[in-house]
């Protein structure tokens, strides 16, 4: 028994010293155990959901009426949204804005809950096999749900925003206040490190801010509510009671600007100034300036004249 206790504590020390290795072992254990139980999990889950469904049948007519009314309202909204989207696309096109092209996603089904009362997480049936990487964001149809933490071959764990170890940099929308959404095991996690509390009102939209490179910016998280204890909390948009399918956003490590010098033109020949165009005209429009560089570079190399940069290189 002494040896057994010693071994168990040794496992703990090992976990404390070399956490990634033991966490990988944990992911492998989960990977081995859970998919084997899937055949049993799925029917039981279905049965439980069916039972819940039967409970709601009792007020089916009322629900139906309500849904119809809501659908009417939504149709109006949809029309507005389509028009706005068209307008937005036109304006973006006019401005030559480049959107973030890195948000493609993998969709997975939720296999299991965390099982522990103190951790809020779910297990997805997609894993390293599908190219998942630790740290990616997971959303349901509406809002942010959590982040990938622990990837097995066929499974991946999503730490929910309500978990007590979850800290997400967010921005509160109309005022642009930055804050930290820190989970505390309650369904409505509080906002922390808010600069100006007065600038934030209940009902404000909360989106991910993208600070720290954890998440892509601009993912909807929820809306601000005033908690019973006077703290500002976030009502999450994602439907946590009904997590069935989650989409995991592939986020590729963004390009970062490391030093100031990288932005300043080092080589006069490659300067983003097209011939015959005054420098002042091209300076404000960065998009067209970028194209200018691309065109100037091959032109400089292709000409037979000796460009100044070659003479510099030789000297």
């Amino acid at each position: 028994m002494g040896i057994l206790v010693f071994v168990l504590f040794a496992v703990f020390f090992l976990w404390r010293i070399d956490s990634p290795r033991v966490e990988r072992l944990r992911a492998q254990v989960v990977d081995a155990v859970v998919p084997n139980m899937e055949w049993a999990l799925v029917p039981v889950t279905k049965a439980v959901n069916l039972a819940e469904g039967f409970q709601s049948y009792t007020r089916l007519a009322e629900q139906n009426r309500e849904l119809r009314r809501e659908l009417q309202r939504m149709k109006a909204w949809k029309e507005a949204a389509v028009q706005l989207e068209e307008e937005n696309a036109r304006l973006l096109d006019l401005n030559n804005v480049r959107l973030d092209a890195r948000l493609s996603y993998v969709t997975g089904r939720v296999l299991t809950d965390s099982g522990s009362p103190f951790r809020q997480s779910v297990l997805l049936n997609v894993g390293a096999r599908d190219g998942l990487v630790d740290g990616w964001a997971a959303m349901d149809g509406l809002g942010l749900v959590g982040r990938i933490s622990g990837v097995g071959d066929q499974t991946a764990r999503v730490i929910l925003l309500s978990d007590s170890s979850s800290r997400i940099p967010v921005a509160v929308q109309p005022s642009g206040q930055k804050a930290l959404l820190s989970g505390d095991n309650s369904p409505r996690p509080p906002l922390e490190f808010l600069d100006e509390r007065d600038a934030v009102r209940p009902g404000d939209r909360v989106v991910s801010s993208g600070d720290g490179g954890v998440f892509p910016a601009g993912l909807l998280v929820g809306a601000v509510v005033a908690g019973a204890d006077g703290r500002l909390r976030v009502q999450l948009s994602a439907d946590y009671s009904r997590l069935e399918f989650l989409r995991v956003l592939r986020s590729h490590p963004g390009e970062t600007v490391h030093e100031a010098g990288g932005l300043i033109v080092m080589n006069p020949v490659l300067a983003p100034v097209a011939e015959g165009v005054p420098a002042e005209a091209s300076a404000p429009d960065r998009a067209s300036a970028g194209e200018g560089t691309d065109e100037a570079a091959p032109a400089g190399e292709g000409t037979d004249e000796v460009p100044p940069n070659e003479t510099e290189a030789g000297g």
Partner: protein
């Protein structure tokens, strides 16, 4: 040739493992909405304690530890600490099992409560020493009280439902015959 008594013992060890598997299975069902509710009791530890008071030979310590480690790995808890302490608690109860059986259920309940509290305290101290993030004290205290309240039910179920009960003097032979 395996003696019937050994077979009986192994059957109950298997039953214990099956109960643990069932508990894990029910816990990880994706039914959602677990945030903010009451934490469920720690059935595996409670069942282990309740069994070991009645029949110290029914819960092999190795099996108990293995089951706890697997649950810790599955449930995202720091591996090894809680299970190591639970093993110590189990052995402490095993050493007092004879005494506890004689003194009746109330003293058993109190002893289990004290041992669970000591386990919890030791776990928190150990985790704090190693700077591991811990859930809030209120949550853990709530979990402890749920455990204490659930213990009589678990004990009753294992004694009357699963027939894990102490042998009266001279009962050994009849049990052997039964198998």
């Amino acid at each position: 040739m395996i003696s019937p008594a050994t077979l009986h013992r192994w059957a109950y060890a298997l039953l214990f493992a099956a109960i643990a598997a069932l508990v894990v299975f029910l816990r990880i069902l994706p039914t959602g909405g677990s945030a903010g509710g009451w934490p469920p009791p720690d059935f595996i530890v409670l069942a282990g304690f309740a069994w070991v008071v009645q029949r110290p030979d029914f819960v092999p310590v190795l099996l108990f530890a293995a089951l706890l480690v697997v649950t810790e790995l599955l449930f995202l808890r720091p591996p090894g600490v809680a299970s190591g302490l639970a093993v110590i608690g189990l052995e402490a109860i095993r050493a007092r099992a004879g005494l506890l059986r004689e003194r009746g259920f109330l003293s058993e309940w109190i002893t289990v409560g004290v041992i669970l509290a000591l386990m919890l305290l030791a776990e928190r101290i150990l985790l704090a020493v190693f700077f591991v993030d811990q859930p809030g004290f209120a949550l853990v205290a709530l979990g402890y009280f749920v455990n204490i309240l659930a213990y009589p039910a678990v004990a009753a179920l294992s004694v009357w439902g699963l027939r894990v009960r102490r042998l009266a003097p001279g009962e050994h032979a009849s049990e052997v015959r039964l198998v």
